[in-house]
Each structure stands twice: as structure tokens, then as C-alpha cells.
Symmetry: C2
């Protein structure tokens, strides 16, 4: 076994999770990147995740598959239209239809399982509250509650090896995330944020994820290398 | 939509989850049974779950597939021998190798997702502490922590529709579960508990699950309709 401590890093393939992986690796962790093929309409993000895991030096990358379309209930996993061109006030108000029920809870649960089998006490997730789309499972109170639950759930927790859920981006603006990504040499051209990939491979530029990303790059004064429709 | 309240019921196909489903249905809930094909060596339990869901009147039964063998770490999902013929003192001491890391957390997370899309505030799980194999994620403190987390995780929770995780068996002995199952007309011959199904279709009779089940039937003074090797 390596002498370095291991961390499980949730990696969607977007800007935030790629930056989180770079931060975890920069802290010295041996990183185990974890992605999910859950029936998302922007499945293209998984190609991004694969390339980012390799580029950022993850020791291993696993993609766990399951079908959240069986439950539906979200614009990302059912035939519900993804909103376009929403303004700042709309982005901050309420929970949007792109919210996927309990998604982060499912993702963190798998991360917890892998952490336990790896003997790891550290999970990284790139959630972000200040500049988010109002998802309930991106808030600090939620993450704290998950951490408390996790430490009662596992053999490691029972035996005193307490788990920490790291959320290094949680209070950053999207502009700060862009700046952090650049300072950590994240290959921005490999990251994918858009919910509605276009047939020609471009990002739509109009979904909430694109709107937030583009505003972040603009505020940070950097050029987004992605091609937009 | 039906006028009855909906509950999501975790259904492994074993005696405990079948009894839990019967209790939820008896309380008046419209039941949505949820099972998992996760790479368990006793995959035969899923046939039991299908038959039990139908027999006990579940409105719908979903089986979500994913591969926990990718992580390993348990006798149920890796090439680790299932212990046999353990005595009472051994059954109560420590966490056995059949513990699957974070399994109930993963199961409850999917139940949470489905509950939210169904507009349900009630999840049933047949965990049991007094007579269990020492799994950390079967204890009341764990369930309470999951419930607190869940109410911060979801849109429903944020909007005040609080979720309850029901654990009607949590303090029952296995004999009491057998008696409850019989009083609720659970078709015991359809339930499956064994971790090591035999090639001829019999239960092994020697794994922890068989040992606990047989002791429960003996203490309750009932005949177990299952065929043992």
C-alpha cells in the first residue's frame, strides 16, 4: 500500500469537480476519482471525467452505473425541458427542475462505500452554495449532516476512524473557482458543464450550468476554452 | 393519484424486509417496493423479492442495478469466504465479513430519491439490532442520523415535508419477527435469507443469516418452510 493517504473524489467532469480533484491532489492525497453514469442527459460529461482523472493524476477512476431515469423527477433524468437563459434573480430563487432528487446523497453514499474499502477517511465533493442553482444538497448544513451519519454508518466510523467530507469550493464564487482552477493548472478545455450538449459537440451556452460558468469566466477575466453554440 | 399515502419499502427478499412490507401495507400505505441487484452472491434473493412484492400487494416494484463488486471489501461482494456455524457469542461480537460497506446508506439514498419523486414522506427498512450480526448501519442512532440528513438533502425537506424512516422491527428478536410475519400472513415459503444458496436450490443452513433465521423459527415454535442443505 502507498504511504500516501487516500481520498475519494467525486468527479462529474465539470469545472467544479475538476478543480476539487486538483486541490485534493495538491494537498498530497492519492486520489480515487468516482463518477456516475446515472441516465443523465449530459452523459458526455463522463468522457470529460475520464480525461480529467488521467490528466490530474488520479490513481484510479471508477464509473458506477445505475438508472435514475427509473424514478424520474428531474429535467436531467426525465423528459422535462432544461430551462434556458435564466437571469441572476431566477438562478438564486428556489430549487430548479434540474435538481435531481437525492443525487448528492446517492453519490456520497457510493463514495463512502469506496472510502471504507480503501481505508480512506477523506471524501472530496465540489459543492458550492454562493453561486449555485439552489440545490438543497449543496449546502453546508446538509454536508455536515451527511458526515455525522457517515460516521455512524461504517465499520471504520465505529472503530474510531472518523471520516471527513471536504468541500473546498463551498463558499467560492464561480469566478474564484475559475481562478483556482487556473492556478492549479486544471485543463479547462477538458471540463464539461453544459446540461444540453449540442449535436455538433458545442455547449448550449443557455442552461443554468452554462450561464453560471460563462459568468464566472467573465468575472474572472479569463477566456473559456469551450466552444458554445 | 391515489388518495392513499405512499411509502417506499426496502425489500431484499428476506424474512425481515417481507415482514416490514406487510406491516407498511397493513398500516394503509400504498407500497413501492425497492430492491437492489448489487453483485451480491445470494442474488437469488431478488426472485424472492419479486414474488413477495406481488404477494404482499406492492403497487410497484423496482430493482436498481449497480456493481458493488467494483469496490469489494465484503464476503457478500468479493471472493471472501462466508463464515459458517458461528455461535451466539460470535454472532454478537464485532462486525462480520459479510458486512457490506455503506450498503444501507446506499439503499436508503435510492429510497430517498424515489420517495421524493413519488411525493412520499415515508420509507420503511427492516433493520434489526437485538438479533443482528453487528452491522453498524442497523442501529437506531444511524437511522436517526440518516433521517436528519435526508431532511436537509431534499426539496421536499426544504419545503417542510419531513421524511420519516420507519424501522418497525428494530427492537424485535428474530422469534418476534417470525411471529409478526405469521400474524400478517407473510408467505414465509417465498422469503430467502441465506448468503450461500446451494446448487440444488436449498439454503445452506450454516451462514449467519441461516443460523439467525433457524433460531428464530425454533424459538417461536414454528416450522421454517425453507429447504436446508
Amino acid at each position: 500500500m502507498s504511504s500516501r493517504l487516500r481520498a475519494v473524489v467525486l468527479l462529474s467532469g465539470g469545472l467544479d469537480s475538476a478543480t476539487t480533484l486538483a486541490l485534493a491532489a495538491g494537498t498530497g492525497f492519492e486520489c480515487y476519482a468516482l463518477s456516475f453514469d446515472y441516465g443523465q442527459r449530459h452523459r458526455r460529461e463522463l468522457d470529460a471525467a475520464r480525461q480529467l482523472a488521467a490528466a490530474l493524476g488520479a490513481t484510479r477512476h471508477e464509473i458506477i452505473g445505475f438508472d435514475l431515469r427509473r424514478f424520474g423527477g428531474s429535467a436531467l433524468t426525465a423528459d422535462i425541458a432544461v430551462p434556458r437563459d435564466r437571469r441572476e434573480a431566477e438562478l438564486g430563487a428556489g430549487i430548479p427542475v434540474t435538481y435531481v432528487p437525492a443525487r448528492n446523497t446517492i453519490f456520497l453514499s457510493f463514495a463512502l462505500a469506496w472510502a471504507e474499502t480503501l481505508g480512506s477517511s477523506d471524501i472530496y465533493i465540489g459543492v458550492n452554495v454562493l453561486d449555485s442553482s439552489g440545490y438543497p444538497d449543496c449546502r453546508a448544513a446538509y454536508i455536515d449532516a451527511f458526515e455525522r451519519m457517515a460516521n455512524l454508518a461504517t465499520k471504520a466510523g465505529v472503530e474510531g476512524q472518523l471520516l471527513t467530507i471536504h468541500t473546498p469550493l463551498i463558499r467560492m464564487s464561480k469566478a474564484e473557482i475559475v481562478e483556482t482552477a487556473i492556478s492549479r493548472a486544471v485543463p479547462l478545455e477538458l471540463t464539461w458543464s453544459c446540461y444540453e450538449p449540442q449535436p455538433d459537440g458545442a455547449a448550449c451556452g443557455r442552461c443554468d450550468a452554462c450561464v453560471l460558468r460563462r459568468r464566472g469566466f467573465a468575472e474572472a477575466g479569463h477566456t473559456d476554452p469551450l466552444r458554445y453554440a
